[in-house]
């Protein structure tokens, strides 16, 4: 504990003044005045690392003494002042017993002190949460200043220099008169690049998917590390070596070079992928990398719902906010009903739906929901099985295509044109078209597509072994079967149509609620079992 030179009470880092403040007398001190020197093993040759901990977190670089609290629920480790009352785990959100032990951790080289206060942080969170109309109320209410915990997260910061001869391919296509001219180019020259403070989080506790959303941190604010800055906050110890992320950093550095090349080089239709490959060939360039361990400020809020946990993280320097908001199925259904009221009034003004239209609407809704489902299952699959980055990108592109793809858009277009405009509209001319026949053909086509999707997605949802998601896949096919059967039978009795339409609509509603379940899996995680085996993201 760093004591106040005046009264001896605890000093904490005050964000507003960027100085140390006495928690009792309120007096302010410049950090360097009260700096407490870290007791590193190097500075205390009579102590060995083994005396502190059996398993030092980082084996290379300077080390320092720290009190590490370990959550008995999830195994996450938090570094805090021994006087700090650590009553709940910031990672799994549980009020678990946290065991403390004295340990050796890798001493950071630099630190970016907190710039955003807890109050500002809560305001930024509320600004984001305000738009989340489907989020559970208790999650919105949780966004009070006292719910946030300031944590210094370890990041490896790299300075990368590169020099060498570049050769970037490109292609342009131009039409002159009735000639289409395709020209392939090779841009060449010399490149000198120096990039500072490219960073990557150095803790396995901090999910990369989350940390990537709140970067970048600005290295210009980094100062020499002093553990005074940690007073009043938690910290996380680095548990990954800097060599782990060199490839990621080189990839980011290449992206920046390509962005700059597009701004600075003449336009020649640069093939970005090929240019990136050329930059990745380290034989062409002289590359040097220097790394340092830095502590970056992050405000952290964890929200536990059932056996899952969602996170809100706010960059303590820039205020950039990332938050996962699970959706409440009740709120979703409530908003759907509220949306349905004005829609119903509007629909009554312009159209007169028949029971067959209800059936067809349910089919189209099932088809669109199936597209969303396909995208969701793939995302969950990628999340759970950590499909390699390249593949993930490809899948993401496929998803986008599937969701906004021609099939879905065409179906919605056909639906709008057929029903809303011609078959059911009060005012447009009666085309006298044979709609029942059109509906039957479309239902048959959609059934075939949905069956193909069912088998295409089968291996993925089987791998996920999630009953609700598995069931949803079959429900869409069931709606298509009911619809096609209705269009073939063409029952004269409205009640049969209503029964079919009601069954199909109920199935669509159920599958949409299941989609919310899938969405919530994506917006949360099973608390990781750090340094333990058997963690399952979906269980």
């Amino acid at each position: 504990m760093v004591g106040c030179p005046g009264c001896g009470s605890k000093l904490v880092f005050d964000i507003e003044s960027q100085q140390m403040k006495c928690s009792y007398c309120g007096k302010l001190y410049v950090v360097s005045q009260v700096s407490k020197h870290s007791k590193s093993a190097d500075e205390h040759p009579d102590m060995t690392r083994d005396e502190y901990s059996e398993e030092p977190i980082m084996s290379e670089g300077p080390v320092m003494e720290a009190t590490v609290f370990t959550c008995s629920q999830c195994g996450a480790e938090i570094v805090a002042d021994p006087d700090e009352a650590v009553t709940w785990c910031s990672y799994c959100g549980s009020p678990a017993t946290l065991k403390s032990r004295l340990s050796m951790i890798r001493k950071p080289d630099k630190v970016i002190p907190f710039k955003i206060t807890k109050k500002e942080c809560a305001l930024r969170y509320r600004e984001v949460a305000r738009k989340q109309i489907y989020a559970p109320n208790d999650l919105i209410r949780k966004g009070k200043a006292e719910s946030f915990r300031g944590i210094y997260m370890p990041f490896w910061s790299y300075n990368v220099s590169r020099s060498g001869e570049y050769r970037f391919p490109g292609k342009t296509v131009e039409v002159i008169g009735n000639e289409q001219i395709t020209t392939s180019y090779m841009a060449n020259g010399w490149i000198e690049s120096r990039q500072h403070d490219l960073s990557h989080d150095a803790s396995v506790t901090f999910d990369d998917a989350v940390s990537e959303k709140i970067v970048p941190f600005m290295g210009k604010d980094a100062v020499e590390f002093d553990d005074c800055y940690l007073n009043g906050f938690y910290a996380n110890a680095a548990d990954q070596g800097e060599e782990e992320y060199r490839q990621n950093i080189l990839s980011t550095e290449s992206d920046i070079i390509i962005t700059k090349a597009q701004w600075n080089l003449p336009k020649f239709g640069m093939d970005e992928q090929a240019a990136k490959q050329q930059l990745a060939d380290t034989g062409n360039y002289k590359i040097s990398m220097e790394s340092s361990l830095q502590m970056y400020p992050v405000w952290f809020l964890s929200y536990r719902h059932g056996d899952r946990v969602s996170y809100a993280t706010i960059n303590g320097q820039t205020g950039k906010t990332y938050a996962d908001f699970p959706a409440s199925p009740y709120k979703y259904l409530l908003f759907s009903l509220l949306t349905a009221i004005p829609l119903y009034l509007l629909i009554n003004l312009v159209m007169s739906a028949t029971p067959a239209v209800v059936m067809f609407s349910a089919l189209i809704a099932a088809f669109v929901a199936s597209s969303i489902y396909q995208s969701e299952v793939t995302e969950i699959f990628v999340k759970q099985f950590h499909v390699s980055f390249g593949k993930k990108e490809k899948i993401a592109a496929k998803l986008k295509k599937a969701f906004t793809g021609f099939g879905t858009v065409a179906m919605i277009f056909v639906y709008v044109v057929l029903y809303l405009l011609f078959d059911t509209n009060e005012y447009l001319p009666d085309l006298g078209a044979n709609f029942d026949y059109v509906y039957m053909v479309i239902a048959a086509i959609l059934l075939v597509i949905l069956v193909i999707r069912f088998f295409k997605m089968k291996s993925r949802f089987m791998a996920l072994s999630n009953v609700r998601l598995n069931m949803t896949n079959g429900l869409f096919v069931l709606v298509a079967v009911i619809s096609l059967a209705m269009f073939i039978i063409r029952p004269a009795d409205d009640y049969l149509y209503y029964a079919g339409g009601f069954a199909a609509a109920a199935i669509v509603a159920l599958s949409v609620v299941n989609l919310i379940h899938g969405y919530n899996i994506l917006a949360s995680q099973k608390p990781k079992q750090f340094k333990r085996s058997g963690g399952d993201d979906l269980a």
Binding site: Y134, M186, E192, I256, Y332, I347, D430, D436
Partner: protein
């Protein structure tokens, strides 16, 4: 966006064209009963006639029934066959004047109301559908006379400014509204939570970096020229003038 606006304007224009109102005819209309399928008893026919007569001050009124001997347009999946026949019969009997034709199509097992002019302004497509929906059960029970009489009763109610039950319309529209609302909210939920990826430009702007290019040149590796086909081809076609057709509307129900 511009295309969407043009389409919207075209639709609005279509709506305005279709919304034109007709004047009340000065002369009384004529009454037609063509019960080819012999569905009505004498008693039923006289009851129906008295109901149809009430409509004549607004235009002509026709009751037509067809059976397999007279009608060759049967197709199990052609829901528009009855509608087409009703329109054809209307043109034949009443012509381009205000009127209403009630058809019982025994081939397609469908009842259909086709209407045009002043009466058509009151008996819209939606109302025609509601009326046929309200009375189709009589036809299912083979009470064709009651079915037609009840239909004309409801038509007269509408012409006198009254209201009729439209349960099918309201129930079906409610289903459609709920389905669309479920989807809109699902799309909104996903849109609200779309996370922006950090771009290379953002990372570059946040920190000190210098990237210098000493550009030597742009070598042309290959050049391919493809001669495109001429896009100017002669336009053909156009709109032909219509002869004797007019835009009425109607609605029906299978029984």
């Amino acid at each position: 966006m511009r295309k969407a606006l043009i389409i919207l304007c075209m639709l609005a224009a279509l709506c305005l064209t279709a919304c034109g109102h007709h004047a009340k005819p000065e002369e009384r209309g004529r009454l037609y009963i063509e019960d080819v399928s012999d569905l009505l008893s004498d008693e039923e026919e006289s009851g129906l006639r008295s109901e149809m007569e009430k409509l004549l001050e607004y235009g002509s009124a026709a009751f037509v029934s067809v059976g397999d001997a007279r009608y060759s347009g049967y197709n199990a999946y052609d829901s528009s066959a009855a509608g087409r026949y009703a329109k054809q019969k209307y043109e034949e009997l009443i012509g381009p004047e205000s009127g209403l034709l009630f058809l019982i199509d025994m081939d397609n097992r469908e009842i259909y109301i086709y209407t045009y002019g002043f009466i058509g302004d009151y008996v819209s497509r939606s109302k025609a559908r509601s009326i046929t929906d309200n009375v189709y059960r009589y036809a299912t029970d083979k009470q064709y006379g009651t079915c037609a009489t009840k239909a004309f009763e409801q038509i007269n109610t509408l012409m006198n400014g009254g209201k009729i039950a439209e349960s099918m319309r309201y129930i079906s529209n409610a289903f459609v509204a709920v389905l669309i609302a479920l989807l809109i909210n699902m799309l909104a939920l996903r849109a609200l939570n779309r996370k922006k990826e950090v771009t290379a430009a953002e990372v570059a702007d946040a920190n000190k970096n210098t990237v210098q290019f000493r550009h030597k040149g742009l070598d042309i590796i290959s050049r391919k020229v493809v001669v495109l086909r001429s896009s100017s081809s002669g336009g053909r076609g156009g709109f032909g003038g219509g002869g004797g057709h007019f835009g009425g509307h109607g609605g029906g129900h299978r029984f």
